[in-house]
Symmetry: C2
Subunit: 340 residues, 2 copies
Amino acid sequence: MVDAMNISVDAMGGDNAPAAIVNGCLLALERRGGFNLQLIGDQAAIRQSLDAYGYAGDRIGVINATQSIGGDEVPTKAIKEKKDSPVALGLGLLKDKKTDAFLSCGNTGALLTGAMLITGRIKGVDRPALAPMVPTMRGVSMLIDAGLNTTCKPINYEQFAQIGSIYMRAMFGIDEPKVGLLNVGTEENKGTAIVKEAYGRLMALDGINFIGNIEGRDLTDGKCDIAVCDGFVGNLILKCYESIGSFVFGGIMDIFKKNLKNKLAAAVLKGDIKALFKRFDYEEYGGTPILGVGGSVFKIHGNANAKTVMYAIDRAVAFTNSSALDEIRECFGRKDSAPA
Amino acid sequence: MVDAMNISVDAMGGDNAPAAIVNGCLLALERRGGFNLQLIGDQAAIRQSLDAYGYAGDRIGVINATQSIGGDEVPTKAIKEKKDSPVALGLGLLKDKKTDAFLSCGNTGALLTGAMLITGRIKGVDRPALAPMVPTMRGVSMLIDAGLNTTCKPINYEQFAQIGSIYMRAMFGIDEPKVGLLNVGTEENKGTAIVKEAYGRLMALDGINFIGNIEGRDLTDGKCDIAVCDGFVGNLILKCYESIGSFVFGGIMDIFKKNLKNKLAAAVLKGDIKALFKRFDYEEYGGTPILGVGGSVFKIHGNANAKTVMYAIDRAVAFTNSSALDEIRECFGRKDSAPA
């Protein structure tokens, strides 16, 4: 292996492991240089998959894991008991600075819990958050938190805004990312007691471009770059978002295939419709950072295909290359806390 | 006027008042018989609008209101101070049994507050709820509460399930409507402390077909007939739902109109795409009942056009004709409470 950035990937998680993950890794390596990959999981299965794709390069290493965590396992229990699972191993390597990033398509709860317990929070960050990008009329916006924290304190909203702003600046080059607080109305006095207090804190916060409360439709309209909410709300919105997109596009695909007449007409429109689909394509947004932990940790969709894995690795490389992690440390006090 | 069901409509609320509302009323009267309408608002403006549409029948009455409540007014204050507004007058008529239903496109908060303060809750109902229908892959599902109660107690989820079940049985003929609890996972132990307690209550509740926790995507998939949640979550989901639909369909319409080639192809697909659009068409679901108050109260979209108003009136007539209100009273103890 050449001396370069090292990215570790859980080869066993998700619906299409290890083939889609191995394939995605190969696509990522083709796409850009400057990093090596480390696949963690059942060594024999990974080797078999690498052979099947005819890979003979030196940019992929394999680390054997004798255990794996299923999608239905209770996260805390699984992380504590399965120390030889890809997630526990990968997050441990990250903590020990033996890898630069870790990605997994597996059990979301286990990855989140592991990121907290093994890799540890950045000092001063009260609660890390899952921060996916969602498509909007103007591009994409970050939804933070989308499921790590079922309930939040006012300080969490404030920190999500800060961490999110650093990420959007570093990764999307947006100078003063607009932060909106998801609420049931735009007026200052809207929402629960906690959300109202969060509003006050965000208003008073320096270094953040807070545009006030935003409603559900404002998110889709792209009124802000970062939509701040608790993980209960964020998770529900994210899953509605994904499924409404599939619902509508599925309906359109059915129409396109309905009969010969439709098929011919669809052929004319295909390129344009594809471009529209692409804006809703979670393959490209498949890698979701867990922000606030002391390393680059990315969750990939459980049903990810090779392309999704490729884009996620791409994103992890960019994040690791960026100054975002250092800036978050800087923002909250420079040092990682001990794992909780 | 003939002796028939009487439906009162706020002629002044919403973005397109009074013309769209008057037009919608005329369409509703054409559509079915058995009821009369009463328009409440600026009498001169209403008369002018009726004249503009050339209405000369005897099924519409007009009640003058010297005040009106703007979209930005603080609901409680507006309802208390503007006793001669359409909302205050209409809900008062409903309370006094001088009308059978009241509909408004205006300030949602004022309508909800007015329904609580003027018309009053059904005795035993802790909190009424706003209960819109959202499109799903299998048809439509009710989302309850979608914005009346920012925070909820466990008993509220239980009552939403009961009230929602009565409505879906009476209005949609579904024998055992499936009730789902919106949550961040399907497992029993998911969610906030309140949602967990609501889960336990729903599990123990007789007469309800509770299918357990549902995620955001289950709502779109149509896994349940009634999705129960607090008003903060419900409002955000509803608005995302609406805007994601508009976003995707807007994108498709742009493609259809992009150039001559696309226009010709689109002409072939138009009928089918229109049918798909129709499933996402809030015009048909524009009338949303406020369930748990002692009368038929419907909120219509603020940007409703005449067709939306027509469908909402249609729905209010059906609801008033149904046994739903009596069944809700029966379920919770037979008598309306005094206005709070």
